[in-house]
Symmetry: C2
Subunit: 394 residues, 2 copies
Amino acid sequence: MRLLQEIWCLEDALREVSRAIIHRSSYKEVPLLESVGRVVAEDILASEPVPHFVRSTMDGYAVRARTTFGASEAMPAMLTLGGAGVYASAPVLTGGAVSDEFDAVVMLEYAELLEDGLLLVSRPVAVGENIMSVGEDVPVNQALVRRGQKLSIRDIAVLSALGHAQVRVRDFKVAVMSSGDEIVPITVVPAIGQVRDINSSLVMGLIRDMGFHADFLGIITDDADLLVSKLVIALATYDAVIISGGSSAGSYDYTARAMQRVGSPGVITHGLSIKPGKPTVLGVAGGKLMIGLPGHPLSCALTAHVVAAPLLATAAEALIVKRAHFELPLLLPIASVPGRRDIVPVKITQGGICPLFAKSAAIRVLADADGFIEINEQCEGLHAGERVKVEVWR
Amino acid sequence: MRLLQEIWCLEDALREVSRAIIHRSSYKEVPLLESVGRVVAEDILASEPVPHFVRSTMDGYAVRARTTFGASEAMPAMLTLGGAGVYASAPVLTGGAVSDEFDAVVMLEYAELLEDGLLLVSRPVAVGENIMSVGEDVPVNQALVRRGQKLSIRDIAVLSALGHAQVRVRDFKVAVMSSGDEIVPITVVPAIGQVRDINSSLVMGLIRDMGFHADFLGIITDDADLLVSKLVIALATYDAVIISGGSSAGSYDYTARAMQRVGSPGVITHGLSIKPGKPTVLGVAGGKLMIGLPGHPLSCALTAHVVAAPLLATAAEALIVKRAHFELPLLLPIASVPGRRDIVPVKITQGGICPLFAKSAAIRVLADADGFIEINEQCEGLHAGERVKVEVWR
């Protein structure tokens, strides 16, 4: 077992653990609206074209475009309403079907219908003007959503247009536990030396926001055998396990030792060159991901974002869509240490990014921060005024 | 009734309708984790300090700071482990309680414990060093969350730290309907001239994302009496009603006329100087908000964001927290017309913002867009290269 002696850089650790994971891809079918925010289990292609008929995009008259060429207010084209000849036309509303013999729509305001059924058109239209052809919006077989994609409200709209009332989404289940003798349930008034279990809510919230299922398996006291038996139960039922450590110094070792006992390869990395997050434990048993996060809520939250989230996405074969990178100027300088990645909570203000410095045990800064920035291993610090990429909280 | 003849600018319409709304503030209690994304119904203040005891932020020894002043490796301070005198010290783990008689913690690496219980400290600590005092993180009575605020995962963490296992959230209920003879349920294969009901999913998704409850009340054919009776039922049970119009030209009139018949003041504005969204109908009956959105999905989505969302927030007394404004350069010029606000869907790419031009009936662009930009009434258009504020989709 590699204990804290061997410190890994984040990229190496993520790659090594990802290699040991066996992807989990069970799915379930949910009603369309409930699939918002979930991870779709398969590519969904358009089985029909949209629109499925030639559709007018304006209120007006369907015509043959060439019958209007050269038309002007002084010299309107003269068509007949209805009829079957070349100069025929048909009234049509926005969204209405344009029948085969027509190839354009004249807007209402450029047509004048006389009492005898004569239609005067005062402006020419080009072929295809004011109509949407079959499949122009979505051609048949175009991918509507991609396997592994987290569905947005707009994706749901597109799926509804194609008649998908049910959607297959990933059914990836994560067991969440807290460990530490000093941790009490949130409903309990903590005695001196005790703290409420903040991390479980935090970690479960993040997992659910990723579109996965999270169950809370309880607070485990610092008892190696108990932790092992809980881990065994969790691994039997869930696709991944996340344990947040207590804040007491010994608890990381409990987590790492328990991970080592429940299966092969067990602990893969114990100790990351990130701050906060150094005591993070990463392991795999029977192909399933096990993560031990630091106990301090702020450390736990930041590590959950930069370490747990990408590994959970890998395990569930979810696509991580990098959001657009927002770069903003830093308002205060930040010192860092080469060889270590710093993750700094920040507040976004009118003028730029303000780093929030806090003791790692602080929880208030969690609510105050809009997101975080990363200072990579090669960097000795950032100057005030430098433009920096912000990762906005999930 | 002000029909489309009288076109209102968006600000005036929002202000006028907001004035006529009676705020709705019923609430319900939900388990903490289910309150993520919901709107909290009351200010919640810290009933206890965090931490509630003096806490060590390091593994080490609790000491009286002044006993270490002047200490160095060559001349360590000599303390006793345990004991009750001035030179007493006590071992403490990170997160552990520091008792009253001590005022600082010496880190483990700067202390050497000799066999006879003598503790050598090789570096001085200041008063308060490596400890967190009572309430340093969250003082008693500090606001944890504000009434009307939409709760984030981090807010939930902070609430859990203070023992809030249940949270009172706004119980604001919106009835959603589609209208139009040509609209069929998404499970039906549409005939020529028919389209599936895309807007209901879209609008319900948005309402739920705002933290409110949304129910689908069905597709209403273009029948004024039917629409009136449905509206009456909806207004009796729900806090607000949203009807998306069919794409047929006549349907907006049905919506406006029905709104006019169900209560006072009825229709407030019918016709907004925005594109898309011109035929939007806004009304109030018995203090409850009624909104008629355009039928084209893209128009419906954009109007839902810029018109419906702020009005729903007002009705529910929800705080709209403006996200940080991300300004990016525009990659293509956009023409606009003074006196009209244009809402343009955009894609955010590496280089900047790319406007997505689409016929208003298009649905594909909904999924492709990352958000939208607004071109205000005073502006004749935007140049390529101009930095523009992007509103990222909810």
